[in-house]
């Protein structure tokens, strides 16, 4: 029995430890320790991680717990009562899903689509219309995701319908299909293409310029840490935050 209890306590402590954020020991000099729960679109992973690190430095005792996923998945979770103080979405639609739950959403960045191909663009793709050529395997985002609805808008604007080989669940899945050579071309955001570096070549099309995705951020109504949540939103909207987004390739709000 004692052995079992010992084993159980080890398991419990491991679970507890892994559940906690991996930040260093919060300085005990500050106010009582708080954990701020931030749910953000997957395409914000790099930028929000950088902002959260900076935020923790400036707010001793506060731990920022980041949760990244598709915007619609996160919105559904928050509606189901998942603990979130701040929500940052990759489009307006999923922010609107929260309705009254989202307090005063503000746009903090924009993003546009771009075509990615294998390095050197072996299929010689020069425009959006080229994606529909025979012999070109194209993957896109699934329509419920922001990148998918942006793709659908471009299709409507140009009158070109892409016969996609696969409708992926996220931008990162589209990128993987292209970098692994499964697909000849994919439609992703400018920032994702930038993040992939020299693993992809990019091709842009004039039609992309008018299809701009705005990223709104809001505190969640009745958040556990309302004050800190508002401060985090301010940090995202601050000049320093703006600088981080610009470096990652995001456009101005």
């Amino acid at each position: 029995m004692r052995k079992i209890l010992a084993a159980a306590s080890v398991v419990v402590s491991v679970v507890v430890a892994s559940g906690c954020s991996s930040s260093d020991d919060a300085a005990s000099s500050g106010p009582s320790p708080t954990t701020l729960n931030v749910s953000a679109a997957a395409s914000l992973k790099k930028t929000f991680t950088a902002i959260a690190d900076e935020f923790e430095k400036q707010h001793p005792g506060t731990t920022v717990s980041l949760s990244f996923d598709g915007s619609s998945t996160l919105a559904n979770q928050i509606k189901q009562g998942a603990p979130a103080d701040v929500f940052a979405s990759a489009d307006q639609k999923n922010m609107e899903k929260l309705g009254e739950e989202a307090v005063d959403p503000k746009t903090f960045a924009t993003n546009t689509l771009v075509i990615v191909t294998a390095p050197g663009n072996p299929k010689g793709i020069t425009s959006f219309a080229d994606l529909d050529k025979p012999g070109v395997t194209t993957v896109v985002c699934q329509a419920a995701q922001p990148c998918g609805s942006a793709t659908a808008t471009v299709e409507r604007d140009t009158g070109v319908t892409i016969d996609a080989a696969s409708e992926e669940q996220s931008v990162s899945a589209v990128l993987t299909k292209v970098t692994s050579g499964q697909a000849d071309a994919g439609l992703v955001y400018v920032t994702d293409a930038k993040g992939a570096g020299d693993k992809v070549a990019t091709v842009t099309d004039p039609a992309f310029a008018s299809v701009v995705n705005s990223y709104p951020i809001a505190t969640v109504r009745d958040a556990a840490n309302e004050g800190v949540a508002e401060e985090f939103v301010d940090a995202v909207l601050s000049p320093a935050g703006r600088q981080i987004f610009r470096q990652a390739g995001f456009g101005k709000p």
Partner: protein, 269 residues
Amino acid sequence: MIRRPAIPAGLPAWLYLPAALGITLIVLPPIALLAQTPWDTFLDQVGSQSSRQALWLSLRTAAISTLLCVALGVPMAVVFARHDGAVTRLLRSLVLLPLVLPPVVGGIALLYTFGRFGLVGEHLRAIGIDIAFTSAAVVLAQTFVALPFLVISVEGALRVAGTRYEEVAATLGAGPSRTLWRVTLPLVVPSLLAGVVLAFARAMGEFGATITFAGNAPGITQTAPLAIYVAEIDDPQAAIPLSLVLVVVSLIVVVAVHTRRRRSVQEAL
């Protein structure tokens, strides 16, 4: 409760509490799913074009995968059951890997094997076979994850059955092949059927490897679990009817295996 149920000897009463908790944990979620089901639109949603397409694709690919599992798994099981060296033990462990591997990892591994730049895929492509984003990729993913179920079921039964009957058949002048078809395989039919049902169920439920390796194209690679996932993203309510259909399919499978199991155990006794 007026009449207390008699507790069998050697069964401490406190054991019922964790047992009841366990049963609740398993039984409650399907009940919750039933409670959430929008019955007024149930038939419309299950009968919708995308649902029907996905279910039909799932049934077709899972059936082909199961046949492949039998064609590859039974010979493997016979070889493993009749050898006992270190090499065999190592190979058997490797073959069981898909059982414990997270399916998404299996999908990535398949991508680098049969993908366009994969170890095998590259050469397949050279001779004009490109399985990227085809139903063949779905079948490969399903076969990869379901194959161990069949091997385990059949191999276990062969080990239990032993080699007595085969030795007798050999002394009576039957050749190895004839012994296999007439003696060895008939002995393990109940376990083979249990393995077939399990493999089929695993193939029907395959999600991670499929979405990673085969992609998500309605009618071509979008199986029922993928369709449920996609529907869940947009409208959680819309995902429930198809989920319920899969629950029913799974129930049929469990019941089928269970009655089989009992019967084959009785036969063994």
